[in-house]
């Protein structure tokens, strides 16, 4: 059956190989270039952000182009009437088709994530650099990239058997994967482990700060109170959330920053954050639940093929 799968999907697999191949070549040369120049503290640099944004579309595209047609094309073209009446049987055929494709997709994505880490790794997590936990690059590295690609493939397969038409299934895959990725990045990932809370004000930029707030004597203090205190010394408060304070000229602060002034007057700034050292634990957690979800989706696809009458 391996030959069968390869033969039927050779075009899409070749397309995937071409795209990833081109991206890999780019990463390789960029990595060499950065190393030749020495890794000056680029921080998050425009090159990395743009590249990361582009590479974010690779998993859902693989899911849409490799995963969605597997079952949808059989149903749309009517070839299931040939393939599923052969002696092999339809459930076995589905498993024997999905397994090698899922494996190939995961392995290739894993290699790609490794290459991405090699290329930009030293730029992420250095003293003034980007936090490795930041959503920009977290899901492009380590096991997370392989996990996101595999789940995109699995979503594509299920969309294919449910929708039964290739192009609508591809769109559904893109939409569903994007929804899942956004929800994970915005809401889910920060809760993998309980965040640490500290009153230090000099957290390195590589830690992922999720929120900051002021307290006094153990009680949280509203930002309007902070505003009032600061305005008394002539400081205008701008920004929200992170409370970016800008000192206006001629304020009564002297050499202190507004933050130091507040601390001096009994206020404490608390930050809840995830330290950069949690990168790998988070990778395993995210990779783990993505793997479980993918397996669940593929089992559901096999069950749907087995049970669903035409």
């Amino acid at each position: 059956m391996g030959w069968v799968t390869w033969r039927q999907h050779r075009l899409t697999l070749a397309g995937v190989a071409a795209v990833l191949g081109a991206a890999s070549v780019y990463l390789y040369f960029t990595g060499e270039h950065l190393r030749n120049q020495g890794f000056v503290s680029y921080g998050a640099g425009p090159g990395l952000t743009l590249t990361a944004a582009l590479f974010q579309v690779i998993p859902p595209l693989i899911g849409a182009f490799v995963g969605a047609p597997v079952l949808a094309r059989e149903l749309e073209a009517g070839t299931f009437r040939f393939t599923w009446t052969q002696g092999f049987g339809r459930a076995r055929w589905t498993i024997a088709t999905l397994a090698p494709l899922a494996l190939a997709v995961t392995v290739v994505a894993g290699a790609f994530g490794f290459l991405f880490s090699w290329c930009y790794g030293p730029q992420i997590g250095v003293k003034y650099g980007l936090s490795p936990l930041a959503a920009t690059t977290f899901d492009l590295r380590g096991v997370a990239f392989a996990g996101w690609t595999l789940v995109a493939f699995a979503i594509g397969v299920v969309a294919g058997i449910l929708i039964r038409r290739v192009v609508p299934a591809m769109f559904a895959t893109l939409v569903a994967w994007s929804g899942l990725a956004v929800v994970t990045g915005l809401f889910l990932r920060r809760h993998y482990e309980a965040p640490l809370v500290t009153s230090r004000t000099n957290l390195p930029s590589t830690d992922w700060v999720m929120s900051e707030w002021w307290t006094r004597g153990g009680q949280p203090v509203s930002s309007s109170t902070i505003d009032q205190v600061l305005q008394k010394v002539g400081v205008s408060v701008s920004g929200n959330g992170q409370q970016i304070l800008r000192a206006s000229q001629g304020s009564g602060l002297g050499n202190m920053s507004p933050t130091q002034y507040l601390i001096h007057h009994g206020f404490t700034q608390l930050s809840s954050y995830q330290p950069a050292s949690r990168f790998w634990p988070f990778q395993w957690i995210e990779g783990g639940w993505l793997l479980a979800l993918s397996l669940l989706l593929m089992i559901a696809a096999v069950w749907l093929v087995h049970r669903r009458a035409t």
Binding site: Q8, R81, F82, T85, Q86, G87, A309, T310
Partner: protein, 305 residues
């Protein structure tokens, strides 16, 4: 052994019954013609028999007692669907390789010899073949599996007359050589009339006629006589369908054999399968089924006036 046995079989799509209350017992070793107008439920019945779909009510078993879609059934039944689906961008050699990988038994030598005889090169892509060649390829792939039952769903609907002739010749050769049972569906009776020895007529999702062709032809005949006497005659006979002209009427009647006397002034002719089909299709309430009778609206084997 019955190759296809159905009991009260029904299939519903949404609120429409594609097949309703279908009871059949098709014996093996026959060439079965499954005939009916478009939308009668032929494809549904065949899909149920090969396990592509599951019944809504009733049961169907194939090859004796086997459940359709089970391993034994899949091994023993070869199905060629309408419009002969093939992987258009695989070459012929690849299609053979594919079919060999998907089946326990596949006679590669037979398949290659057959395709050689037909002059189909093995490097050409399946999608580039003509309609007739695609049908022959699908048939070859099916026969190379050496099935016990060959099921063909309107295999000739898109073929020209010569291609049809070649197709049926291949089927008949396979029957003679291997003793395979064949179920063929079509809405064109003429091409099946010569080869079929078991006949099933489906109309609007119900089985109207089922039986051996010889038996059916033996117990029906056409009586031709004056139109004025037609009604009087019809009261005494079991008339399936009446066709009236200005002066003449033709009654297609059911008899118990040739024992029934022909009324005076009337002539009796043997009936062809085509006349039989048309008559029953025009009388939806009539049916001719073997064995224990299942009444629908009227007593079976009688006409609904």
């Amino acid at each position: 052994m019955n190759v296809i046995e159905a009991n009260g079989l029904g299939k519903r799509y949404g609120s429409t019954w594609a097949l309703r209350d279908c009871t059949l017992a098709i014996p093996d070793g026959h060439v079965v013609a499954l005939v009916g107008p478009n939308g009668a439920g032929k494809t549904t019945l065949l899909n149920l028999a090969v396990g592509l779909t599951a019944p809504s009510t009733g049961t169907v078993t194939v090859l004796g007692d086997t459940r359709p879609g089970s391993r034994t059934a899949l091994d023993g039944i070869a199905f060629v669907a309408q419009d002969t689906p093939l992987y258009k961008n695989l070459s012929i050699a690849d299609m053979l390789h594919l079919t060999r990988n998907l089946n326990r038994y596949f006679d590669q030598g037979y398949a290659e010899a057959r395709l050689g005889e037909l002059g189909i090169p093995s490097t050409r892509k399946a999608g580039k073949l003509s309609g007739g060649q695609q049908a022959q390829l699908a048939l070859t792939l099916a026969l190379a599996r050496r099935p016990r039952l060959l099921v063909l769903d309107e295999p000739m609907s898109s073929l020209d007359p010569l291609a049809r002739h070649d197709f049926m010749a291949t089927v008949m050769t396979a029957i003679a050589d291997d003793g395979v049972s064949v179920v063929l569906s079509s809405h064109v009776l003429a091409e099946l009339e010569r080869v079929a020895d078991y006949f099933v007529l489906l109309s609007s999702g119900s089985v109207q006629v089922a039986g051996e062709v010889d038996d059916l032809l033996a117990c029906h005949r056409v009586l031709t006589g004056p139109a004025s006497e037609a009604d009087r005659c019809a009261d005494r006979l079991r008339v399936v369908h009446t066709r009236r002209g200005e002066a003449q009427a033709h009654l297609l009647i059911r008899t118990n054999g040739s024992a029934d006397p022909v009324p005076q002034g009337w002539e009796a002719h043997p009936v062809t399968l085509e006349e039989l089909t048309l008559a029953y299709l025009r009388e939806p309430g009539a049916s001719s089924l073997p064995g224990p009778v299942r009444a629908r609206h009227t007593e079976p084997m009688d006409v609904a006036k």
